[in-house]
């Protein structure tokens, strides 16, 4: 079972019901659950959207788009049905926060989905979980069935004449399906390849209808925003970055775990105080701040770094999914870069050539390089390849592979050079044979 952790600096908003048995609907209600949905039903869509805008809640999947604004893009009138889509295809390496939400607070997901539905005028919400999360899908399905049994979901929610239905869906193993348009394709029973945008999902989404798609953490946060009030929620975080974030500390950290901290929390403090420092008292070498697609940061870059979308962006990386991966001084960055790019090569759907070919060539180059058969020119070639993938694909997977690669090569060029000319890797014990 995933271990729960806690730290005095945490501000427990989204995680406040964790470990309290709130997967049980009666417990969830006892702890104040479904009051926000009732309030939203009474107040109506404009009020909901204005609270969401005031909250400065930004998309927790990684892009950080303001949630209230996203909802406001959905046309009021639509010939086709509108949909809410919850993205629980959590698969960005370093990220396991939604795992805990589904496990400990599934009704918060349901309630958030209902509120999104009320805001945009949708009657159906879909909750899509990655296929590997089977035990969590079962928890979600039970929670949905319980909500129907209590009349919280159905033709007449809370006894009103408003209808809201929820359908849970299982994926079957595909990182790419975490991209919003690919997720819609997958939900329509197709290969999960991305769609060209525009049109954006708010106008033409699932089954061609206007669709709001939000990350599971975003959706689970919504009932709390309503409960606290948008302005009060915003005040917890930093400028233009409302509230808290579920940061997943992993890798070479003494106390790994998912911690709920205010937006803007200092990264160095997060690693050394919340996480207890680098494991075994080793020296910090690098940090991946927001899941494997975000460019690596050096120890000197995290000194005064507040963890919100704007500050991490200014530092040349991204807040991403909030998955903070701590790397100690005994790690080979070339091996780390190779493992990162191997993932993106495996997950590229092959739809766009720069991504399909680029990830493959990067993997080949890095494999050869790490095995000690690289040549000086390879370092520039790796950089050239990565630069030519950027911004040239339908979806951000190409960028997600290129960005961290560029970071590794630029910030650890010396370490790449150390691998040159047949020299064995100075760190790693798992040297792969070069087959290219």
């Amino acid at each position: 079972m995933p271990r729960l952790v806690s730290h005095p600096d945490e501000v427990k908003i989204v995680t406040r019901r964790f470990g309290q048995g709130a997967a049980n609907i009666d417990k969830y209600i006892e702890l104040g659950g479904y009051e926000s949905a009732k309030k939203c039903l009474a107040q109506g869509p404009e009020w909901i959207i204005s609270e969401m805008k005031a909250s400065n809640l930004r998309g927790r999947g990684g892009a950080g788009f303001p949630t209230g604004l996203k909802w406001s893009f959905v046309p009021k009138q639509s010939a086709k049905p509108k949909y809410v889509l919850v993205n629980g295809d959590e698969s960005e390496p370093g990220t396991c926060k939604d795992h805990l939400i589904f496990l400990h607070d599934p009704h918060a997901i349901i309630e958030g989905t209902m509120i999104a539905g009320l805001a945009i005028g949708a009657k159906i919400g879909f909750i899509y979980l990655r296929g590997e999360y089977r035990y969590l899908i079962e928890i979600m399905e039970k929670a949905v069935a319980d909500a129907y049994a209590k009349g919280i979901l159905g033709k007449n929610i809370f006894g009103s004449d408003t209808e809201f239905q929820i359908i849970t869906q299982s994926g079957a193993g595909a990182y790419e399906v975490g991209e919003e348009s690919a997720l819609m394709e997958s939900l329509e029973g197709k290969r999960g390849v991305p769609r060209i945008k525009p049109p954006f999902p708010a106008v033409v989404g699932l089954y061609g209808g206007p669709t709001v798609i939000n990350n599971a953490e975003t959706i689970a946060t919504v009932p709390h925003v309503i409960e606290m009030g948008g302005a009060a929620y915003a005040a917890v975080g930093s400028e233009r970055n409302g509230g808290t974030r579920l940061f997943g500390l992993s890798g070479h950290v003494e106390r790994p775990g998912v911690y709920e901290l205010p937006m803007g929390y200092n990264l160095k403090k997060m690693i050394y105080e919340v996480g207890g420092g680098v494991r075994g008292g080793r020296k910090l070498k690098a940090v991946v701040p927001g899941g494997s697609s975000t460019p690596v940061l050096l120890p000197e870059e995290i000194e005064n770094l507040g963890m919100d979308f704007d500050q991490v962006g200014k530092a040349g990386s991204m807040l991403g999914s909030g998955g903070v991966v701590v790397i100690d001084d005994r790690t080979c960055i070339v091996e780390f870069a190779l493992r990162t790019i191997s993932f993106y090569q495996h997950e590229s759907c092959g739809w766009c050539i720069p991504c399909r070919e680029g990830t493959d060539w990067l993997k080949k180059s890095l494999t050869r390089f790490h095995a000690g058969f690289g040549v000086e020119k390879d370092i520039d070639n790796i950089q050239y390849l990565a630069e030519n993938m950027m911004g040239r694909t339908f979806c951000p997977l190409g960028d997600a592979a290129a960005m961290p690669t560029l970071g590794f090569v630029k910030k650890f060029r010396k370490e790449f050079e150390d691998h040159l000319n047949g020299k064995p890797c100075p760190f790693a014990k798992h040297v792969e044979l070069a087959v290219v």
Partner: protein, 173 residues
């Protein structure tokens, strides 16, 4: 020739799949979960599974195959009764996932996508399974096991062997 008389699935699964096609605004949305549930029972997507799923959804077998080949959890040949999936992605790698993976290879005598001769276990190196903060982690079928060291490996395998013993259908390793 109705599906009720022709189905290759158990009555429970057949009923579940019947309910699944009625669940969505568009029938085809049932395709991916249907393939997964069918695989859970049959072990892999055999020609007969593909044929029945195609008929249930009302699309061609080629269309089903075209979709199924996209998803990494779907397979076209049998895995072991217990499929051991070891995550070696970054967070797990940093905490010794390759040592765990090597130990599984030694204990089982098979490599990536290998199946033990008795068909009891198979082994797979997989991408991130969403247990990064409890690394290194693995899944055996759908069960998670986390915060592992190589020393945990024999115990995990024994656990599944005795589980099958209790069900009274064990090929012994």
């Amino acid at each position: 020739m109705s599906l009720e008389t022709m189905t290759i699935f158990s009555p429970q699964l057949a009923a579940r799949l019947d309910a699944l096609v009625a669940k969505y605004p568009v029938k085809r949305s049932a395709l991916i979960p249907m393939l997964l549930y069918a695989q859970d029972e049959i072990g892999y997507l055999s020609d007969t599974v593909i044929a029945e799923v195609a008929e249930r959804i009302g699309i061609s077998e080629l269309d089903v195959r075209n979709v199924a080949t996209y998803y990494s959890m779907l397979r076209f040949k049998p895995a072991g009764k217990y499929n051991v999936q070891v995550c070696t992605n970054i967070s797990c790698m940093l905490r010794g996932a390759y040592d765990v993976y090597e130990r599984f290879q030694e204990e089982l005598g098979v490599g990536h996508k290998g199946v033990t001769p008795d068909g009891f276990f198979s082994l797979e190196e997989v991408e991130c399974i969403g247990a990064c903060c409890w690394a290194p982690a693995i899944q055996v079928n759908y069960d998670f096991h986390d915060e592992l060291t190589p020393g945990h490996v024999p115990g995990i395998l024994a656990q599944y062997r005795s589980k099958a013993d209790n069900e009274g259908k064990v090929p012994h390793a």
